[in-house]
């Protein structure tokens, strides 16, 4: 009586533990990627069943092989690099302009108030509306694209830094003051660090924005290279796999930049949210 009962209880347990072991190894991957896999499957299903014409939506396989071909032949990599270069160029200018100005105006509330309308006005004006102006000022070369993107990015950086300075915790400043720390040291040692989390939010937003502006500029403002140009060229000749491949590559760039900034942020601003 006892012997078979033991068997029946033991076997499922073994199987269960084997299964749970397998699923614990796999589950973090599944949790993080199920959505992506489902998305790719639906994409494949839709194209395989011919629900959407191949002219509008190529199969995932055609898209990724086009992406692969672009990478191996090197011409996609060149465009990728050029766009990344312009984006980072614009971002660096934006930071160099935005951070000191933000610190300066953030620390002088009266000065900030006097510029507040102007700041809000330009923040609300789409940067892309400035293309013609920048073309006149900087010419049709590469730099006018970089300049528009830098302008848009600088406003975001500036605004966030100024906001960060204005919202520093008064207690920490008071703590430094009561120690007899000179005013400039309070600024360097306390206010600057207090502002860092908000500054990083500004930098992260700015890098995304400069990428957007650069892509749009590459599409429509007399460009012969870059991912924006690549996407619109593929569209013009109905190279749909090529277009989708370029869109995906651009997405990878945006995602990568954002992740890079998030990682840097978490490493340097370890006290964030504490």
């Amino acid at each position: 009586m006892q012997y078979p009962r033991q068997q029946t209880t033991e076997q499922p347990i073994q199987e269960k533990s084997y299964l749970s072991n397998f699923s614990t190894k796999l589950s973090p991957f599944l949790v993080a990627n199920t959505g992506t896999l489902v998305f790719l499957f639906i994409w494949w299903l839709v194209t395989a069943l011919g629900i959407i014409q191949a002219v509008l939506l190529p199969t995932p396989i055609a898209t990724f092989s086009s992406l692969w071909a672009g990478i191996t032949s090197g011409d996609l990599l060149l465009d990728f690099w050029l766009t990344l270069y312009r984006t980072l160029y614009a971002f660096v200018i934006a930071s160099i302009l935005g951070i000191p100005l933000g610190l300066l105006l953030g620390a002088n509330e009266k000065l900030y108030k006097s510029f507040e309308f102007l700041i809000d006005f330009f923040r609300s004006t789409p940067a892309t509306a400035m293309f013609p102006l920048f073309l006149v000022v900087f010419g049709i070369g590469d730099f006018s694209k970089v300049a528009v993107a830098a302008f848009a990015g600088a406003l975001v950086v500036f605004f966030n830094v100024a906001y960060g300075v204005m919202n520093t915790r008064k207690t920490r400043i008071m703590a430094a003051k009561v120690m007899g720390v000179p005013k400039w040291r309070v600024f360097v040692d306390v206010i600057f660090f207090e502002t860092l989390p908000q500054t990083f939010i500004g930098l992260r937003t700015a890098v995304s924005l400069t990428l957007v502006v650069i892509i749009v500029a590459e599409m429509f403002v007399g460009s012969t290279n870059g991912m924006g140009q690549r996407i619109i060229d593929a569209q013009q000749v109905f190279d749909m796999p090529g277009m989708y491949a370029s869109i995906i590559a651009t997405g990878v760039m945006g995602y990568g930049l954002n992740q890079f900034f998030l990682l840097t942020e978490n490493k340097f601003i370890h006290w964030k949210g504490q």
Binding site: T171, R172, M174, A175, V178, G180, F193, L196, W271, Q274
Partner: protein, 277 residues
């Protein structure tokens, strides 16, 4: 040495308005050197404002303050502020050898989270121009004095509330100040941490003789720690009574049941009830 470190404070003719309302008018106060003085009073009577004015964080509308032998803060008229007058005030402040330590109620907002606990304690010494070795030595002394049992190379947010407030107190004491101001230092802590830290504070006080001025929201705690309890009235704020409690140090949990303690506390409560309502 004990009597040398602490200095006395004298506040005369202090006036401070809060908008249109009078907070202090012609307010006088004396704080004895080398004693623990606790300030107790009803909500909104301006205890923190008084402490901040004494520490130089707020400017009074009128009045004078003397710390030991020197006048540190002179009042200004509310409307006119002459440039010359302002700079002379600043000068006397900078040259002043009287050093102040300040412990805030909210340690979370007062410590620098980007610096490790030990670096927080060193920070006032860094801006005072001490060398790395001198700073390390001073921190070692403080660790010994406070018998610190946790790792000071951690960041403040990795420490418990009690540990963070202890770090705040060590930071305030790192420059060996003549006066230590504490603004409700225990109100954000649990009871266990409060008991431990207030006894350490008492120990350090006995060892150094620094003048301590503390705001308390807990009458038992005030009487337990203080030599002098200053009972304030509601606005416009006056000094209702200076209660003196001279029980021996170190005071322990036994002190809390001694007749002198019980009667001092009862008397203070009576004065507070009368003046707060």
């Amino acid at each position: 040495m004990v009597s040398k470190l602490g200095v006395d404070i004298e506040v005369t003719g202090l006036t401070k308005y809060l908008g249109e309302k009078v907070l202090y008018e012609n307010f006088d106060l004396k704080i004895a050197r080398g004693k623990i003085t606790c300030i107790f009073g009803p909500n909104g009577c301006g205890k923190s404002t008084l402490l901040n004015m004494m520490a130089g964080l707020l400017t009074p509308d009128a009045g004078q303050m003397r710390f030991g032998t020197e006048v540190r803060s002179s009042g200004r008229t509310k409307t006119i502020q002459k440039k010359g007058q302002k700079s002379s005030t600043n000068n006397s402040r900078n040259e002043s050898p009287v050093k102040i330590g300040y412990v805030f109620q909210n340690y979370r907002d007062a410590l620098f989270p980007w610096l490790r606990a030990a670096e927080n304690i060193e920070y006032p010494l860094l801006s005072a121009g001490l060398s790395r070795l001198q700073r390390k030595a001073r921190v070692e002394t403080l660790i010994h004095q406070f018998d610190v049992g946790f790792d000071l190379s951690r960041y403040p947010y990795e420490l418990s509330g009690g540990q963070q407030q202890l770090v705040s107190i060590m930071r305030a004491l790192s420059t060996q100040p003549n006066i230590l101001f504490l603004d409700e230092p225990f109100s954000a802590l649990d009871y266990e941490a409060t008991l431990a830290i207030r006894d350490k504070l008492q120990e350090v006080f006995t060892a150094t003789g620094v003048t301590i001025v503390m705001i308390s929201h807990d009458l038992e705690e005030a009487v337990y720690l203080a030599d002098h309890i200053l009972l304030l009235t509601k606005r416009p704020t006056r000094l209702a009574e200076r209660v003196v409690f001279e029980a021996q140090r170190p005071r322990t949990l036994k002190t809390l049941s001694e007749p002198a303690f019980v009667s001092t506390k009862a008397h203070s409560l009576e004065v507070f009830r009368r003046e707060a309502s």
